[in-house]
């Protein structure tokens, strides 16, 4: 069993390494950014039981911070990425402190409302470029010229490294004592509190971590596509990341990654359908909630285990 697992992981890594020679690199990079975003969202929902319906505010603001630092202030991209993470973390702290005061469905509505507030601010604030967004963010070499990223394939490996860093960080959190306490709070908050854990602190920390990683994903996307726009802070984007996690499988490790690839690919192929993409996305939401609540990874996992038992 373990052997199979290593083979599977090795296969994925080989795929990731040869990917840009087979598939258009910009597509892969975009998908990786969304995959990291979906993993960050899933960290909060799957392991802290908190469903944020406003995660676009961290993703989108990460992009704006990156764009502002690199384009307007003229600083190197690594500073931009740090700014994206730090900015999103601060925003996460400010909104998280208030949002965790309510639970369940209210938490979702509160995060949604805060994201809408951030959206309205982005429409008006001068540093976001309003409706135009920030365009033409320059691609400068990383680490003082050590790693050139003008070339899409070279940039791909940087983005892959960022994604793997984020993915590994999330796995580290989940399997640490912190992650165990988080799960305990998710399953029975009163019990965890009675054992002396300060539930609110753990939830807030999880929220800030998730926000920071979403900010990293947004900043990386701005580095790849060289623009940051209102779409990435909109409520539609918040819904999209929920859809990615849901399609792949909530609370599974690989689900959000698979879900992100599926949704980004779908959007690429269906781009010509215009408004119909929304209809299809909505229909997927309905079908999954009604019939496939475990998502792709969950259902495939069940099928695999059933087969193993039978064979």
């Amino acid at each position: 069993m373990n052997n199979q697992r290593y083979m599977f992981a090795a296969g994925l890594i080989v795929l990731a390494l040869i990917g840009p020679f087979v598939v258009y690199p910009v597509f892969l990079m975009t998908a990786l950014c969304f995959a990291l975003f979906a993993c960050a969202f899933n960290l909060l929902l799957g392991y802290a039981g908190l469903m944020s319906f406003g995660h676009a505010m961290f993703f989108g603001m990460g992009g704006y911070f990156f764009g502002y630092v690199v384009k307007t202030a003229g600083l190197p991209p690594e500073v931009g990425l740090l700014a994206g993470v730090a900015g999103a973390a601060l925003l996460g702290l400010a909104t998280g402190v208030l949002a965790i005061r309510r639970q369940g469905i209210y938490f979702a509505m509160i995060t949604l409302a805060f994201a809408q507030m951030v959206y309205f601010i982005c429409v008006q604030a001068p540093f976001t470029g309003g409706e135009d967004g920030l365009q033409g963010i320059p691609r400068r070499a990383l680490l003082g010229g050590l790693i050139p990223i003008e070339n899409d394939r070279a940039l791909y490996y940087v983005v892959l490294a960022i994604f793997l860093f984020g993915f590994a960080a999330i796995n580290r959190f989940i399997h640490s004592p912190f992650g165990q306490v988080l799960k305990a709070i998710r399953d029975n908050e009163q019990r965890a509190v009675s054992l002396g854990y300060e539930a609110d602190r753990y939830k807030l920390l999880a929220f800030v971590l998730s926000a920071s990683l979403a900010g990293l994903a947004g900043a990386t996307k701005a580095m790849v596509l060289q623009f940051a726009t209102l779409t990435d802070v909109s409520a539609g984007m918040s819904g999209e990341v929920v859809l990615m996690a849901l399609v792949g499988g909530l609370g599974t490790v690989l689900g959000p990654v698979l879900g992100a690839f599926v949704i980004v690919a779908m959007q690429n192929y269906l781009a010509s359908f215009g408004e119909f993409v929304l209809v299809i996305q909505g229909a997927i939401f309905v079908v999954i909630v009604m019939a496939f609540r475990k998502g792709l990874v969950g259902e495939i996992g069940d099928w695999w285990r059933a087969r193993q038992k039978a064979g």
């Binding site: 469903m51 979702a108 805060f114 909505g282 609540r293």
Partner: protein
Amino acid sequence: MLDIFSIPLPALFGQLLLGLINGAFYAMLSLGLAVIFGMLNVINFTHGAQYMLGAFAAWLLLTNLSIPFWASLVLAPLIVGLFGVVIERLLLKRIYHLDHLYGFLLTFGLALVIEGLFQWKWGSSGAPYPAPIPGGYNLGFMFMPAYRGFVVVAALVICLATWYGIERTRLGAYLRAATENPTLVRAFGINVPRLITLTYGLGVALAALAGVLAAPIQQVSALMGTNLVLVVFAVVVIGGMGSIMGSIVTGFGLGLIEGFTKVIYPPASNTVIFVVMALVLMVKPAGLFGQTK
């Protein structure tokens, strides 16, 4: 004294009237959300789309069948309410036993489908709906368009009628009892599943009625309810969903606050409701009229 904070009085009252109208819609929509949530334990994300459907139904009835506004005021909520009943029977019914979040996700998906289809068929630009009561009155300190005055009064009547229906009638008593303890109410021989379907249909019809009232004020467009429902969520968080009267008061109050902000600091008018929400969460996390459960 003709001005406050050096703002001309007609401008102030004009904005307050606008605020009152917005507040009327917040009140009607949050009322519907609260009624549905109380009974179904589902936050109806489709509420904005159903509000849009109400406006569209009125517009389509007028342009295709020349059915006047006053008839649409009854017909449109009936049509959209029936559509809501179908949704409840086909979809929502099957997920009551799950976590609330699934209801939220399901209705979010439905909203995307409905709004996407309408956007695809009719585009995003709005269609005008002629005001059913033309003209207006000069009140001395401001000009009051007759239809807008009517909307405020009509919304108040609708809200109070809903309150009366739920708090003072026999059917309302069944409803409240079924919210508290559905099993017991069922044991008394009341058909609770039918009551639930009825509640959803009524909540949806209320959203559609708001949409019909909004049609002559706003443009009728596929996305007219998209942003509105997000603001209404904030209104619901502020008011708490425990009390019907609370929803009404919070809705109108926040509309007025928004209108007032538009006068003293226009750039903040979009965000002021969310700021109020943040303040309420700091002071009274359960909402102004809510009880912590």
